[in-house]
């Protein structure tokens, strides 16, 4: 019997006011049939359109797109218990952590739950207030822990910071966390595939077809068909793009057979694939990636 797929848990962490709710909002609009359950601090801040609400029950709101929002109300354990009683179970859980939460603590729930696994910790760094948050007399240590715990760092509110501040922050984070992918976003606009699935192991997560919809100017997506190519070669090519790639996935083939390659949170995972390799390869990154032509050339 195959092991049932565990529900991935994504933790959105960051200082109070760093844009966690905006990001979550934006992710929910891209659910596209995926049953996402969002655990939030405050429904009000989510600003859900009345016409999108299918049903309201206690501290849960079911949306017409199949997603569910749960208010945490300072009781994380109770909320997790309630979420894991949903029928059907969610396909993905996203939690909007409080501004002082230690994301690794929240991740602990996934590590003792038979049906859950940690997908990733995404920490938002507010470009306009980083200089204050990192020196806050009571919260600086906590803030540093949130950043250190991240599998994906996102500089948020870039529109509110001047170019020099932004460049300094970017450098600071790259030097301190060279292995952690670094993205930038305004108003929470991030493609869902750049945020969810940081650890995903299931090939059916692979976005099919060409890039869907316009990407925000902070992100680029490239898709192509690769002829048979050795796994180490793909890894080598990805390495050359390293700081600028957020995620990459492909079902490819080489002389040992078909394989799935998955790159997220700075790590490469490769698994044999049972079936015909399509050669399909998708890459999401920051605008610093080479242009499409150059990418096509590289791959």
């Amino acid at each position: 019997m195959p092991t049932p797929r565990k529900i991935p848990l994504t933790i959105i962490s960051g200082f109070l006011g760093s844009g966690k709710t905006s990001l979550l909002n934006h992710l929910l609009t891209q659910a596209d049939g995926r049953r996402i359950t969002a655990m939030v601090n405050d429904f009000g801040a989510l600003n859900i359109d009345a016409e999108l609400i299918a049903e309201k029950h206690g501290n849960q709101i079911a949306l017409t797109n199949g997603c569910v929002c749960c208010s945490i109300g300072d009781d994380l354990m109770r909320t997790f218990i309630e979420v894991m009683q949903q029928d059907p179970l969610p396909e993905h859980i996203i939690i909007e952590a409080s501004g002082v939460a230690e994301p690794t603590r929240i991740a602990g729930f996934a590590s003792v739950d038979p049906q859950m696994r940690l997908d990733g910790i995404v920490t938002l760094v507010d470009a306009s207030a980083h200089h204050l948050h990192s020196k806050d007399p009571h919260l600086a240590d906590n803030y540093a822990k949130q950043i250190a715990a991240a599998h994906l760092l996102v500089i948020s509110k870039t529109d509110l910071a001047d170019a020099e501040t932004l460049a300094t922050l970017r450098d600071e984070l790259r030097v301190a966390y060279p292995q952690v992918p670094l993205a930038e976003a305004t108003h929470g606009h991030m493609p869902i595939d750049a945020v969810l699935g940081l650890n995903a192991d299931a090939p059916h997560d692979l976005p099919s077809g060409p890039p869907s919809g316009p990407m925000d100017h902070n992100f680029v997506q490239w898709a192509g068909h690769l002829s048979p190519v050795p796994r180490h070669e793909v890894i080598k090519r990805l390495e050359t793009l390293r700081p600028h790639v957020l995620r990459a996935k492909g079902i490819l083939t080489d002389c040992d057979g078909a394989y799935v390659i998955h790159y997220a949170a700075g790590r490469v995972e490769i698994e044999p694939f049972d079936g015909d390799a399509s050669g399909h390869f998708v890459l999401i990154g920051t605008p610093a990636l080479p242009d499409n032509e150059a990418l096509a050339q590289l791959f």
Binding site: G73, M77, V100, L118, N142
Partner: protein, 550 residues
């Protein structure tokens, strides 16, 4: 109908008449206190008073008030007690204390051998490892009880839980990066010990036992009241309850029943909703107030615990070098809530353990009071264990009260000296003497079920400041007198709950809520306080006796 109760001594906590021998009770209230002669004067206008001598050899005090407990105390009595000390259940059954890990394991084996459904989860509670210093309980201990069913042992602190491998396999324990909360041996293998909420969560997810539902059930409430009653308590608090919509109705039905032996003050979980909604919900809850049930407090939790290294401390933080603790709410959000509640005229009790947290809470209370001045707000800091004299001075200026966690001195005093605080700072732990010296209204508490609920024991802790290892914390300036400690568990706590006009002292017009003791605590003195036998209580004139006490 009026009854005069004759006692060996009555300690009233009323400064105008601190000591008496007779108390007249009528319609649930105190008609008179004094001598037999004093009683006689009332008969002309109020009719004959019947003399009752049942307590003629006893000592009467105002019913004790536990200002910081949780009704969760009542939830475990359907499971198996494996604590160090003998403990009396709500039905009067005495569960014998177990004096070693081997005794605990042997007891669990005996339970497993004798029970019918051997596959059902086996849940035990009250395990107190502070008395077992040679080794920690591990998965092999619990595997020896059974490998075919879940075996779970909750620690007395409720912060830790042990599980056998049946549970760990069911939970598919994973994630080396969370080792902080999953204790591991030198090879990285989990030892079966889980910290914080994780253990509880895992127990629920693998056994299907809904501890949350049990925690808020009427049975739990009744058990809680009976456990508290046996220690002389007539008013207790459930000091944080999210009170989901509709939950007040069954709660009130349970509590208003004549045989429910206690008054309960429920503190609404202040950040379970956004500030505006929370204020509205609190107003709604207050419509359910009765003589025995009160929704009068808001509880906010701002940091964690010292022994769990999650309290927020000022530099240099923890003695053993552990990194600083956790905020449970953003200070900014705490400020928003305090403003909203202060504006609405709602009293807030703020949980602060570390001194950094205490300072931030005072900052936020001050901001709220500047925005919405309120002379008798009586906001109170709960636990507030590491407050300095400077903090107490500031609390006095701001009109903030304190309810100190005096039981900590006994249970974790040694750990605070040697591990968390170091000797200098441990001296000021739960500084009741300091609070009184600076003029801060004082109550003291057990935080049951975190430590055992027994106000006389809590008083003993504040008076003697002695750890379980036999060490005295501080240099004497932090101790309070027996009289001050008795005041703290009666009038002091009543004041912190804004109930000082109703309960907390024995004087004409107040509710007939009385603790009936075998001996007079003033006569017994500091050493013997905790060992005084509680004969029973009177609640609104109705007597509730403990079984088999003399």
């Amino acid at each position: 109908m009026s009854i005069i109760y004759q006692a060996k001594s009555i300690r009233t906590m009323n400064p105008h008449l601190p000591h008496a021998t007779h108390i007249a009770v009528r319609d649930g209230h105190i008609l008179a206190v004094g001598t037999k002669d004093d009683m006689d004067g009332w008969q002309a206008a109020w009719g004959p008073l019947e003399l009752n001598t049942d307590f003629a050899t006893r000592s009467l005090l105002p019913g004790f008030i536990e200002g910081h407990s949780h009704m969760m105390e009542g939830m475990f009595w359907d499971y198996h007690y494996v604590g160090f000390y003998d403990r009396e259940g709500p039905d009067g059954t005495v569960w014998p204390g177990l004096k070693s890990i081997d005794e605990v394991v042997a007891k669990l084996k005996e339970i497993q051998a004798n029970r019918k459904d051997k596959d059902a989860p086996l849940l035990a509670w009250g395990f107190d490892p502070i008395y077992f210093t040679d080794r920690r309980m591990n998965d092999a201990d619990l595997d020896s009880v059974s490998t075919d069913c879940a075996v779970i042992v909750l620690h007395a602190s409720l912060h830790i839980l042990n599980a056998n491998n049946f549970v760990m396999e069911a939970a598919d324990v994973k994630g080396a990066d969370n080792s902080e909360f999953i204790r591991r041996d030198e090879n990285g293998k989990p030892t079966g010990e889980f910290l914080g909420q994780l253990g509880f969560y895992m127990a629920m997810r693998t056994t299907g036992i809904n501890l949350l539902a049990i925690a808020s059930s009427p049975e739990t409430l009744v058990n809680f009241a009976n456990v508290a009653r046996q220690t002389g308590v007539t008013t207790a608090t459930d000091l944080v309850n999210p009170m989901p919509e509709g939950s007040e109705k069954p709660m009130r039905e349970t509590i208003d029943a004549d045989d429910f032996p206690m008054r309960l003050v429920v503190a609404f979980q202040g950040n379970s909703k956004e500030p505006d909604e929370a204020v509205a919900r609190m107003q709604e809850l207050q419509e359910s107030n009765s003589d025995k049930l009160r929704f009068s407090l808001i509880k906010m939790v701002a940091d964690g615990s010292i022994q769990g290294f999650s309290a927020r401390l000022k530099w240099p933080h923890y003695y053993n070098g552990a990194e600083n603790g956790l905020w449970y709410i953003e200070p900014e959000r705490l400020g928003e809530y305090l403003k909203a509640y202060t504006k609405a005229g709602m009293q807030v009790h703020v949980h602060t353990n570390g001194d950094e947290c205490t300072e931030v809470a005072l900052d936020k209370i001050e901001e709220a009071l500047r925005a919405h001045p309120w002379p008798d707000h009586r906001h109170t800091l709960q636990h507030c264990q590491m407050a300095t004299r400077a903090h107490f001075k500031r609390m006095k200026s701001l009109g903030v009260g304190v309810n100190l966690f005096s039981n900590h001195l006994y249970y974790w005093g040694d750990a605070h000296i040697n591990i968390t605080m170091g000797p200098e700072r441990a001296a000021r732990l739960d500084d009741a003497g300091g609070a009184l010296a600076e003029g801060v209204p004082l109550a003291i508490h057990s935080d049951a079920p975190v430590t055992a609920l027994a106000p006389l024991f809590t008083a003993w802790c504040a008076v003697n400041r002695r750890s379980s290892g036999g060490v005295t914390l501080g240099n004497g300036t932090q101790n309070i007198s027996v009289e001050e400690a008795l005041y703290a568990i009666t009038m002091g706590a009543a004041y912190s709950l804004k109930m000082e006009n109703e309960v907390g002292s024995l004087e004409t017009g107040k509710r007939a809520d009385i603790a009936i003791l075998a001996e007079d605590p003033i006569d017994v003195g500091a050493e013997g306080l905790k060992d005084i036998s509680v004969i029973g209580t009177m609640l609104g004139g109705i007597v509730h006796l403990n079984q088999g006490r003399d």
